[in-house]
């Protein structure tokens, strides 16, 4: 929808560089995006949730989902031992089945990055660190940037930042934009995932605007939630974000990824998200470079279902390692 994206700014296709030139221009652009009808978005997400994914397509989807997981632990009680166990599991989720794919990344606090880095280095499994005063983002910008710098220096190749929701909700879009751009610059080669914390944005219109704002500011991924605020990821919110990345690619040619995080616990849920991706953004997004699932307990449920499909029976939870 080229015209959709560019209509408010009045610029040509592919050129969105001007929309952030001023607070007024940015506001005009974001508020000129088509609205989201709440009832309609929820109905569409619910309908896609009725897709019946069975047999061979279920097996395929489970392996896809495993390969898209950002295996996450973000607790005050995290210990180096736990992070080491998690990282080891990330490489080989099912210790009894080498055909099981590794997950996409391990996601930890910056303090734990040095623990995970040597285990994951060179394996192809990414190391993501939350940064920018996660989860609240309530710190001065220099502190946020230093947080980011430290995580990257310790070996993180993906940074999950949080946006300044207070600034966003009070309409100070340039401030949010500048902050994301500054973190992006600081993160350097590390991929930047921008957490919108959709549970605090409250409306789908805000989710769409925040998605565009993050993408315009340079996000490589847009992510729903920290997991610390309820509601975390939901299907309709993810639907709106998938529409945003789809339209953004049409407008600019750049493909941004989406990461729902928090509250996705069952294989059935994960498969619903894959269906949502497939029928909203399209199959180009069905790849760990463009779609991730931020989760922890989800992995064991996927492994359990995977074993069930292969062997025809469920194994007890004790056969799958705890994180």
């Amino acid at each position: 929808m080229t015209a959709t994206a560019t209509r408010p700014a009045g610029s040509g296709a592919g050129d969105l560089s001007e929309v952030a030139r001023s607070e007024a221009a940015l506001r005009t652009f974001l508020h000129g995006l088509p609205g989201v009808d709440e009832v309609g978005a929820q109905a569409r997400a619910a309908m896609l949730g009725t897709r019946s994914i069975k047999t061979s397509s279920k097996a395929w989807a489970i392996d896809q989902a495993i390969g898209m997981i950002d295996l996450t632990t973000l607790e005050g009680a995290d210990t180096p031992g736990k992070v080491r166990a998690l990282s080891t599991k990330a490489l080989r989720p099912d210790s009894e089945d080498p055909s099981c794919p590794p997950v996409a990344a391990v996601c930890v606090y910056p303090a734990m990055v040095p623990v995970a880095a040597p285990i994951l280095d060179g394996t192809g499994v990414h190391l993501a660190s939350v940064a920018t005063a996660f989860p609240s983002g309530q710190a001065p910008l220099p502190v946020k940037l230093e947080d980011t710098r430290a995580a990257v220096a310790a070996g993180a190749d993906e940074i999950d930042m949080v946006i300044n929701r207070g600034a966003f909700l009070s309409g100070r879009y340039r401030e949010v934009f500048d902050e994301i751009a500054a973190v992006k610059e600081t993160a350097g080669p590390a991929h930047l995932k921008v957490i919108l914390e959709t549970g605090e944005l409250a409306t789908y219109d805000n989710v769409r605007r925040a998605s565009w704002l993050a993408m315009l500011a340079g996000a490589d991924f847009i992510k729903t939630s920290t997991g610390k605020v309820a509601p975390a990821a939901t299907l309709p919110v993810t639907l709106v974000m998938l529409e945003a990345v789809r339209d953004f690619r049409v407008a600019t040619g750049r493909q941004v990824g989406v990461k729902p995080a928090g509250g996705i616990r069952t294989s059935k849920d994960a498969i619903k998200y894959l269906v949502l991706v497939n029928e909203t953004a399209g199959e180009d997004w069905l790849h760990p470079d463009f779609f991730r699932l931020g989760a922890s307990s989800l992995l064991n449920d996927l492994l359990m279902q995977r074993t069930k499909l292969k062997t025809g029976r469920y194994e007890g939870p004790d056969y799958f390692t705890l994180d």
Binding site: M1, T2, A3, T4, P34, G35, V36, D37, V39, G40, A41, A43, R44, T50, R51, S52, I53, K54, T55, S56, S57, K58, W60, A61, Q64, E243, L274, V275, N278, E279, E283, L286, H287
Partner: protein
Amino acid sequence: MAFEYAPAPESPAIVNIRPSYGLFINGEFVDPKDGERFKTVNPANEEVLAEVASAGPSDVDTAVAAARAAYDTVWRRLPGRERAKYLFRIARIIQERARELAVLESIDNGKPIRESRDVDVPLVAAHFFYYAGWADKLPYAGLGPDPRPLGVAGQVIPWNFPLLMLAWKIAPALAAGNTVVLKPAETTPLSALLFAEICQQADLPPGVVNIVTGAGDTGRLLVEHDGVDKVAFTGSTEVGRLIAKSVAGTRKRLTLELGGKAANIVFDDAPIDQAVEGIVNGIFFNQGHVCCAGSRLLVQESVAEELLDALKRRMAQLRVGDPLDKNTDVGAINSAAQLEKIRSLSEIGESEGAQRWSPPCELPERGFWFAPTIFTGVSQAHRIAREEIFGPVLSVLTFRTPAEAVEKANNTPYGLSAGIWSEKGSRILAVADRLRAGVVWANTFNKFDPTSPFGGYKESGYGREGGRHGLEAYLAH
């Protein structure tokens, strides 16, 4: 990487289709007196499903007599709260047997199981529940202190929502104290016959509901029968006219729910993604076999291009095929005759100069199939913009101002439904006020609810079904 959905068919084993069905008269299945039978086929593969009786003059006589006797001796004498018990019971049995009904409906009609399971059957149960609640409250329906039933209702229903149309007809009639003789469409009689079994299961007194199967001739016999006090018809405007003529000058009361050519109006400030969903739902829901289908898309010129791009992208996602597959979005066309009509009108659209587009989609070899289709560059003068196609074919027109949108939307002999898409509430209200259509949906389409009256303006018929208004068609006051 492509995400292929493996086939996920709902099992047809849950429903027991008999090789042959009689007429349901006076609480039991009886053979037709003139012995004629016809076949009903599965439109998705053209296989014969069952033989069904064709009711002749003496059969219709018997059915109307049974309804009259049940009316005089039982049903009109029952207090409302007792009639309500039967209706509640029927509603609950429908819910219990929902899967069976949904599968049968999809097999006989061709509609996707997702729709029969998630839309048709739940609405059927909801209708019976809703009118069951009215049965003992008729003095409070705003129709005077003592509204009375009319007597025997002769009801003729179409093939697009066989069971739902049955519910729309039977539930209010019975709640109001009438008895009925209902004729389902000849291509989709099976769910009505299963409903007859449900009436038996619910111990409904014999003769309160009678179901006579057959083609147009049977319908005419029923409508023109002297013993009928009330005629209710849902179907084409053409047949509706004939019925209105035949009923004129008699004591019979008449309600007609006929064709439509609804405008779905998309303004430039619409929620585009949801509007696209609404357009798809408006015209491809039930293969476009919907009298209130949004078959004319009126889109504001300034967003026409992006909207059409988004619509085409979305249409490419539609999954056309086996109605029993749980992932199917668009099923089979109901009959060879209907397919022929859709084809010929589409060819006329092309020959009149409109541009035809369908997504790449593989259609099954056997059965009656038509790919989702849109026509752009359509003008008001084109036949595809004026005639009801009753298939998955959308005509796209553009407009520049709200006044032009209203003018074009109203420029049709029909007036059943319309849709408005805009994020601006004041515009929705202003435009809805000027649309001559019985139902106007705002930022949604094809939403039905038993509490909401439904019916047309102009050649889309008269009378309302659903809600408190729906009772009026079955009560004298």
